[in-house]
């Protein structure tokens, strides 16, 4: 494999920084002729991760592939250059998203049954507009309701590879036993809307 004046590692690094989307291992392999193989590239990526470990930018692997991202710890500095803050969402939006993320695929009716309230169209539109949920099919039955699921973009935005990496749902037992403690903690954190 000829890589001219640069090592495979340097080319992978440049490609990841120059790409406008995450790159999968397969795409990275196709950068080289002949193909170095998955194992070599996997170790190159591991080396890169190691090299960047002291930087304010890190190499991560999300649902769509490998990508560099800034570390959360320096967001306060980066925020100073930002004209507007990231959008905030209401509790209704987060709860709807949570039902879809943990119980997918679900219909609007399913979401309403779990949350106990009507789900507004606006909430679903917000999530669709953000590219976090999508209609993946329709359930048989009256009205053939749309089935919603979370998207790859949702996982990417949270820096996750797979839905299974979502924070685990609380155990029922854990919610029953220390009733009072949970309650007090809830009150403090529950201010957020």
């Amino acid at each position: 494999m000829t890589t001219g004046p640069f090592s495979t590692k340097r080319i992978v690094e440049a490609a990841l920084l120059a790409a406008d989307e995450p790159l999968t291992l397969d795409v990275l392999r196709r950068l080289f002729e002949p193909d170095p193989g998955a194992d070599i590239l996997a170790s190159v990526l591991a080396e890169l991760q190691q090299e960047w470990s002291g930087k304010a930018v890190e190499l991560v692997c999300t649902a769509s592939g490998w990508r560099f991202r800034t570390r959360s710890a320096i967001q306060p500095w980066l925020d100073r250059l930002r004209a507007q803050r990231a959008p905030t969402y209401s509790r209704a939006v987060w709860e709807t998203l949570a039902v879809i993320a943990y119980r997918q695929p679900v219909t609007r009716g399913d979401i309403e049954a779990i949350r106990g309230v009507t789900v507004s169209t606006q909430v679903l539109r917000t999530l669709e507009g953000r590219g976090w949920i999508e209609v993946v099919g329709h359930r048989d039955g009256p009205g053939r309701p749309a089935l919603y699921a979370t998207t790859q973009r949702f996982l990417d935005d949270l820096g996750l590879r797979h839905v299974t990496e979502l924070p685990p749902l609380a155990e029922l037992e854990a919610m029953l036993e220390p009733l009072q403690e949970v309650h007090d903690k809830d009150e403090d954190e529950d201010q957020g809307n």
């Binding site: 800034t70 959360s72 309230v117 949270l158 919610m175 009733l179 809830d186 809307n193």
Partner: protein, 275 residues
């Protein structure tokens, strides 16, 4: 760690436990407080926690009483009280009335799944799980708020624009699509012409174009194509003539046939110069 989403108000606290009997709560605070509930499950869970009730053995009568008091308060503030709250009130009242009735030892109907309290507890817990998960999701580091994607950085060279692939399938698909449309919409007959004639027409025109002048017909014939080639070329020339793409000239019978491209026809030029 990470800040939760901006709070709308800080109204949780001891003074509010006695809502709605407590007259000292500023009405606006009470309103905001009531508005923070996401729905009946949210409100019920709050009451259960507040009263230190065991969710596995809910004292339905007490809970129903308090729940109805809150719903009444919401009505008083003319909040957009969703039907969901009223539905829950009805459910609670039903459970309460059932619990007041003497137990009929009807073994067949008294299984677990039929206990309305068990069902309420199951749904309350499921909602509570989702509520906590929602909070974790909201706090989870996310692109654009807690971190930014690096790149794409500029390319030091102008990238080669890749060409769309040549595809015979696409071409045929396009052509059959056109034929289909013509047949369905216009009932216009597309003559299944021998392609070789059309192709010969292109070849003749191309030759003329490169010659930039008149050519003897004989020079257009490709000997290796044989008699059929002569015939095809001749038909192509006639067709081009008909389409006025070229001019045929013969100065006397049996003299050589000259083929002249239409754009080089001498008679067209003075015409073009006229105002």
């Amino acid at each position: 760690m990470l800040a939760t989403e901006a709070p709308i108000a800080r109204v949780y606290g001891e003074p509010l436990t006695a809502v709605p009997e407590d007259l000292f709560i500023p009405p606006e605070a009470l309103r905001v407080f009531l508005e923070t509930f996401e729905g009946p499950f949210d409100l019920l869970w709050y009451l259960i926690q507040k009263n230190r009730l065991d969710v596995r053995d809910i004292p339905v009568a007490r809970l129903t009483e308090q729940y109805l008091a809150y719903v009444e308060a919401m009505r008083r503030f003319d909040l957009d009280l969703a039907a969901d709250y009223l539905l829950m009130a009805a459910t609670l009242l039903e459970i309460k009335s059932r619990s007041l009735l003497p137990r009929v030892p009807l073994v067949l109907q008294e299984d677990e799944g039929d206990d309305p309290r068990a069902e309420l507890m199951r749904r309350l817990l499921e909602y509570e799980r989702i509520k906590r998960a929602a909070r974790l999701l909201g706090e989870h580091p996310r692109a654009g708020r807690d971190f930014l994607w690096a790149g794409p950085i500029e390319w030091g060279h102008t990238p080669q624009r890749p060409q769309p692939e040549a595809s015979l399938d696409r071409l045929i698909e396009a052509w059959t699509g056109i034929l289909q449309r013509l047949r369905l919409e216009r009932r216009h007959e597309v003559a299944a012409e021998a392609i070789s004639v059309r192709e010969a027409m292109s070849r003749v025109l191309r030759r003329l174009h490169h010659a930039a002048g008149a050519l003897a017909f004989a020079t257009l014939i490709e000997p290796e194509q044989g008699r059929l080639g002569v015939a095809v070329t001749f038909v192509a020339v006639l067709e081009l003539c008909k389409e006025r793409a070229l001019h045929l000239e013969q100065h006397e019978p049996f003299a050589p046939l000259w083929v002249r491209p239409a754009e080089a026809a001498p008679e067209t030029e003075p015409l073009a110069l006229e105002p």
